[in-house]
C-alpha cells in the first residue's frame, strides 16, 4: 500500500508520519511536496502536523486554499482513506472536509504530553483493529486543539457515529471531549493527538500503530485478492 505524506511549508511532523508508515507499519510512503503532485498515484493520503504557512490567519486556513487540497477533496470523494493529524486536522476543518472549527486551548497554552483517549467508534476503516471503548495512550502537541461546533452539528456527529476518539480528561476545552472525528462517508479522519508519535514501544507507546494497521487491513480486504 502506498501512502502520500503531504508536505506544506511549515509542516514538521511529516518525517514522523513517514517513519511510522515505512518503519513501524513497513509499507511504502512518499513525502509529497504540496506543489506539482498527483495524488491519484497513492492509496492513502496523510496530512501531517506542524505549522503550515506559520499558522497565518488561522491554523490551516492558508493551506486549505492550495491546489493540493482540491486534489485531496477529489480523492476523498473516491473513498480513499484521508488522515489529518493536528495541523492536518485543522486543514481538513478549514477546507470543509470535516465539520467544525478549532479554537485556542482553553488555558491558552501549548500542550505537549501523553493523553488517554477512548476509542468510541471501532467500526471505521481507521479504528477496526481497536477494541470498542479501549483506552489508548497517544500524545498531543498543540495550542489550537479546542474543537468547536454548534449544537446542531454535534447532534449530527453523534447521530451518524462520527466521533471516533474522545479525551479521558479533556485537556483543551473541546466540545464533548472530542479528540477525533470522521466525515459522514467514514473515509476522512481528523484527530489532534499524534498516532505517528505512538507507533513504536520505544517512543513510549505503540497504541497508535493499530490505526495505521487498520487502514492497511481494510485496504487489503478491498484491493488484494485473497487477503
Amino acid at each position: 500500500m502506498k501512502f502520500a505524506v503531504i508536505v506544506f511549508p511549515g509542516s514538521n511532523c511529516d518525517r514522523d508520519m513517514y517513519h511510522a508508515v515505512t518503519n513501524a507499519l513497513e509499507e511504502e510512503a512518499e513525502l509529497v511536496w504540496y506543489q506539482g503532485a498527483n495524488l491519484a498515484n497513492y492509496d492513502a493520503i496523510l496530512l501531517p502536523g506542524g505549522f503550515s504557512y506559520g499558522d497565518y490567519l488561522r491554523s490551516g486556513a492558508i493551506a486549505s486554499t492550495s491546489d493540493i487540497v482540491t486534489q485531496v477533496k477529489e480523492q476523498a470523494a473516491l473513498g480513499k482513506p484521508i488522515l489529518g493529524v493536528c495541523n492536518g486536522f485543522q486543514i481538513l476543518l478549514e477546507s470543509g472536509l470535516l465539520p467544525g472549527a478549532m479554537l485556542q486551548n482553553k488555558k491558552l497554552k501549548f500542550m505537549c504530553h501523553q493523553e488517554g483517549l477512548r476509542v468510541v467508534n471501532n467500526t471505521t476503516m481507521f479504528t477496526s483493529n481497536y477494541v470498542q471503548d479501549a483506552i489508548v495512550s497517544i500524545p498531543i502537541a498543540h495550542q489550537e486543539g479546542n474543537y468547536y461546533c454548534d449544537e446542531a452539528t454535534l447532534a449530527s456527529l453523534q447521530a451518524n457515529n462520527q466521533i471516533v476518539f474522545t479525551y479521558q480528561t479533556n485537556p483543551n476545552g473541546s466540545v464533548a471531549d472530542i479528540a477525533g472525528i470522521v466525515n459522514e462517508a467514514g473515509n476522512v479522519l481528523g484527530m489532534m493527538p499524534h498516532p505517528e508519535r505512538a507507533s513504536e514501544a520505544i517512543l513510549g507507546s505503540a497504541d497508535g500503530l493499530k490505526l495505521f494497521q487498520s487502514i492497511l487491513e481494510n485496504w487489503r480486504k478491498v484491493y488484494v485478492a485473497g487477503a
Binding site: 490567519l57 488555558k107 491558552l108
Partner: protein, 83 residues
C-alpha cells in the same frame, strides 16, 4: 481604488479565552469596570474599483478571511485618498 476595512470577531457564544485573559489583566490594572473583552482581527484591503466590490468582499470573508463556523465579519468601503 477603494479601501475595505474588515472587522472579524468571534461569534457570540463562542468562548474567547484570550479575551478573558485580557479582561483579567485590565482588572489587575484596576479597571474593574470592564465586564467583557472579545479579541478580534482587523484587516485593510486596497481593491480596484468594481461595481460588485461588496459582493466580492463578502465572498472573500466567507471563503478565507473569516471562518463562518466561529467568526462574524463586518466591513466598510472607503475611497482611497491619494497622497
Amino acid at each position: 481604488m477603494k479601501k475595505v476595512l474588515i472587522h472579524i470577531t468571534l461569534k457570540e457564544g463562542v468562548l474567547d479565552p484570550q479575551g478573558k485573559a485580557v479582561q483579567h489583566s485590565l482588572e489587575t490594572l484596576g479597571y474593574d469596570t470592564v465586564k467583557e473583552v472579545r479579541v478580534g482581527k482587523y484587516m485593510e484591503l486596497v481593491v480596484e474599483d468594481d461595481a460588485s466590490i461588496e459582493q466580492q468582499v463578502e465572498t472573500m470573508c466567507e471563503k478565507l478571511l473569516a471562518n463562518p463556523v466561529i467568526e462574524n465579519y463586518s466591513y466598510t468601503v472607503e475611497e482611497v485618498v491619494p497622497l
